[in-house]
């Protein structure tokens, strides 16, 4: 959006069009920020003047910083892991050990969080780096969606909150299945249809124009594997790449945190919760709540507990399954990896599947 990767300005894009794209991105960013503030202002002016407005802004800033400060360690960790992968993991290892067929790939991806425990903020830079190394699409997408739930820490926190029971089992099983299903659906897609151009170009070694200055630039950029270099230098390069990843992802995280904080300051939770108790509407309401709250998956179980008494089990489960997969901040971060169209699918598909699951649960199971 704003931090331009030099290779994003691909040679096929003439300068003027490039500038227009940049202008549009600028405009959109500005619009989001202005909309968030504008909403706060207009609401405040109706509500009663400057002191009230000031309190609103203060609440907004507190929640924004809360989400950001909570997420930043995980983004730093994810970026550093991503940098280490870039420098120390050999592309051929991925080719050799990971399945390529859609179904096994999707299942492996869903379970990978058990070995690499990362949450929804850390997983994005890791997946992007693995895609640069030629990771099959299905594995990456299933990993991206499942990892925030299918990892030891979150499983433990869910168990602490709900104990051994339908919610605990349901959360794990359905998170696994929905993530695998979405991953499976992308099994037949080609990387260049799904990923941002900058990412899939990297392992496209067949590109014929090696003499072209720009293409040379790419090849040079991503031969991060330097077996000859001293270990210290390689670590330093890993950290360099981690820093670049951090900047690239932090802007999405910051915009997402601002949006989430704006929503929290403006949308009364009670309005959302009052919407309904019906088997369908309650599920939708909890999904919207999960999306808006953008709470870290390690603790959302404790939050869901507060709704367990008053809301249908299917809707609580939808909150616990859908929330970690997609929320405001993570879907913005997806923009750093996938094409915009695909990000819409990555929000809509889990949303639909979780909705189906919740409604089915409400209608067929009595807990």
């Amino acid at each position: 959006m704003i931090v331009e990767r030099s290779k994003a300005s691909s040679p096929s894009l003439p300068g003027a069009a490039d500038r227009r794209v940049r202008l549009i991105r600028w405009g959109l960013t500005l619009l989001v920020v202005v909309a968030a503030f504008g909403a706060i202002f207009s609401d405040a002016l109706r509500g009663g003047g400057a002191p009230y407005l000031y309190q609103r802004i203060q609440t907004f800033v507190t929640i924004f910083l809360g989400i950001f400060i909570e997420a930043v360690p995980f983004l730093v960790a994810g970026s550093i892991v991503s940098g280490l992968i870039a420098v120390f993991v050999d592309q051929s290892a991925i080719d050799r050990y990971l399945p390529k067929a859609a179904l096994p790939a999707a299942l492996v991806g869903s379970g990978m969080g058990l070995i690499f425990p990362v949450c929804e903020c850390g997983v994005v830079p890791v997946v992007r780096r693995l895609y640069e190394k030629g990771l099959p699409l299905s594995i990456g997408i299933a990993f991206l969606l499942a990892a925030p739930v299918i990892n030891p820490i979150v499983i433990l926190s869910t168990y602490t909150a709900f104990g051994w029971g339908p919610v605990f089992v349901g959360r794990i099983v359905f998170s696994f299945l929905i993530a695998a299903a979405v991953g499976f659906l992308f099994g037949r897609a080609r990387p260049e249809e799904v990923l941002r151009p900058a990412i899939c170009q990297v392992h496209d070694d067949e590109e014929p124009y090696h003499t072209h200055e720009h293409a040379h630039h790419h090849a040079h950029d991503h031969s991060h594997h330097l077996p000859d270099a001293a270990l210290g230098l390689r670590f330093r390069q890993a950290l360099n790449l981690a820093g670049d990843d951090f900047f690239d992802m932090a802007r999405y995280l910051i915009l997402g945190s601002m949006l989430a904080a704006g929503m929290q300051t403006l949308v009364p939770q009670s309005a959302l919760l009052a919407i309904g108790q019906g088997p369908v509407i309650s599920v939708l309401a909890m999904q919207v709540l999960a999306f808006v709250l953008s709470v870290c998956s390690t603790v959302d179980a404790f939050l869901a507990l507060a709704f367990a008494g008053t809301f249908t089990t299917g809707s609580v489960l939808a909150f616990l399954v859908f929330g970690p997969m997609v929320d405001i901040k993570s879907s913005l971060m997806f923009l750093g990896v996938f094409q915009r169209r695909i990000v819409v699918y990555l929000i809509a598909l889990p949303m639909l599947l979780a909705l189906l699951m919740g409604v089915w649960w409400n209608l067929n199971l009595r807990w």
């Binding site: 931090v3 309190q55 809360g66 400060i69 930043v72 730093v76 951090f246 367990a308 008494g309």
Partner: protein
């Protein structure tokens, strides 16, 4: 070539931005303001983030051997002015707006829980709350205890209460009544819920919203929103300083 795009300038800029972020986090930690934002048990992650950011920032330092830096440390993410501004937004907002914990303003769009929620608490927390002496219980302990009881308004009548919270005037309350509240946080303030007790005190109207008070009193059966709830009949309401940790933790 724009000066911003020179590799050396880029590296310096990135290193400074990362260091600024680390210093910002460190000052939050050192001043205790961090607890306005996140649960104290996540403090260790913030420490990790500070160390990580400094490490990454140092990796951008200029190398003595030029050839190495050109060959291996060439980076390919250009940080533009707008990107920089966005990454600096948390720091700027954090310094511009004086840090305040969530208070009365944030209560206006939240569910108020005065023992109307049932069976929603952690069993372990409820047990721990039940073992505490009445005077030792904080607002959350009381709400846990109420949640475990089929008829809290009657069951707890006559028990002594000594809690700390901030003042919030709810329209549904009478003139001599006020809500005393604490926000409860599991992770960060994004997941904050609020626990409240109704306090009956003749001078209730004189206490402005967001005043922190210590309330000593006795529980009596009362009513809120048409439901029977325990309320505190205050014997003493003492204004206090903002606690070191303004939130209670789930």
């Amino acid at each position: 070539m724009n000066v911003l795009n020179r590799p050396r300038f880029q590296n310096a800029l990135k290193a400074l931005a990362l260091l600024a972020m680390a210093i910002f986090l460190y000052t939050r930690l050192a001043s205790g303001v961090l607890f306005f934002y996140i649960n104290q048990r996540f403090m260790v992650y913030t420490v990790f983030a500070i160390v990580g950011l400094v490490m990454v920032a140092l990796s951008y330092r200029p190398t003595s051997r030029r050839s190495e830096s050109d060959e291996a440390l060439h980076s390919h993410h250009q940080l533009g002015w707008a990107g920089l501004a966005l990454v600096m937004a948390p720091i700027v907002l954090g310094l511009l707006v004086p840090p305040q914990p969530l208070g009365a303003a944030a209560m206006q769009n939240r569910e108020i829980d005065v023992a109307t929620q049932t069976r929603s608490a952690l069993p372990a927390a409820v047990r721990a709350a039940a073992q505490k002496d009445a005077r030792e219980r904080n607002l959350l302990d009381w709400l846990h205890a109420f949640a475990a009881s089929p008829n809290p308004a009657q069951e707890f009548a006559g028990q002594p209460v000594d809690v700390v919270g901030f003042i919030y005037h709810d329209e549904r309350l009478g003139d001599n009544e006020v809500l005393v509240n604490r926000f409860v946080v599991s992770c960060c303030v994004a997941d904050a819920g609020v626990v409240s007790m109704i306090v009956r005190w003749p001078d209730a109207a004189s206490l402005p919203d967001d005043t922190w008070v210590q309330v000593k009193g006795v529980l009596q059966p009362g009513e809120f929103n048409g439901r029977a709830v325990p309320i505190v009949v205050a014997q003493e309401v003492i204004p206090t300083a903002l606690p070191h940790q303004p939130y209670l933790y789930r």
